[in-house]
Symmetry: C2
Subunit: 126 residues, 2 copies
DNA sequence: ATCTGGCAACTACAAATGTAGTGAACAGGG
DNA sequence: CCCTGTTCACTACATTTGTAGTTGCCAGAT
């Protein structure tokens, strides 16, 4: 596995689009982002280029010869990396306080709570 | 309340020291950090100054007239802000997937799991 | 009165980030 | 065949962050 590159906040939005559907050309990505981030196409292109340099994306070509972008790292792996760094930074690496924090500060539905409890039970018996 | 300022990773270490015990002078903070981060005193001073500019710290004076630093924002509030931004960025604002992620990827002790379950139960009846 | 060590205030400077603009090149419409 | 819009590859530039160095000043030790 390639080491997970550091992905900045803006870059993360770009990755999301591509994790959602790939490959896409620069202008497709721009269009996908348009509703949320109102970025100039060149801004998106810059982010794409940087992500390629970082090894987070690889490029290809579509039928009409236009360059396309595809994630080179799995979303799950990036989430794990980001999560770990967040856990360390803000909660000193202790997962329980983090879980307590989010369990308390989020309005979870009864169903979600049940699912989480079930998940915790599985952890117990393993 | 002052809006919570953006606190970078290095700055966060400094804040931790002061949340832990305040007020402290610049050299005291440096000493407290010495074991973990091996920063030059000037580095710490720069971070302190930036944190004051950002409104995260306020200054005072100790008995001998040396400048001291004290948090101007509560740790809890900063944790909340950071957590929210992390939640939005990495989990698209959805708390459940985040909780699932950390519940699965952390090695929690049986006790911790029980505590969490209890906490979730309380959420259910409220 | 002088030297010295600590503290404060500035200044430095490269890398990363956010956010584009410019110019060249190519391809399809007229 | 030429203009025009799309794509690409560079360049731009202010901020933020990480990590100090430099200099001036003051108070206490000699």
């Amino acid at each position: 596995m390639p080491a997970i590159p550091d992905i900045s906040e803006s870059e993360w939005s770009v990755m999301e689009v591509l994790w959602d559907s790939a490959p896409q050309t620069a202008s497709e990505v721009t269009k996908s982002l348009r509703p949320t981030m109102n970025w100039a196409e060149n801004t998106v292109r810059t982010l794409l280029t940087r992500l390629v340099e970082k090894g987070a994306l690889k490029t290809g070509e579509n039928a009409s010869g236009t360059r396309t972008f595809t994630p080179a790292v799995k979303r799950e792996a990036c989430v794990r990396a980001e999560s770990q760094s967040f856990l360390d930074r803000v909660f000193g690496g202790a997962a329980k306080p983090l879980l307590v924090h989010f369990a308390q500060n989020s309005k979870l539905s009864a169903d979600e709570i049940k699912e989480l409890k079930k998940l915790l039970d599985q952890q117990l018996n393993s």
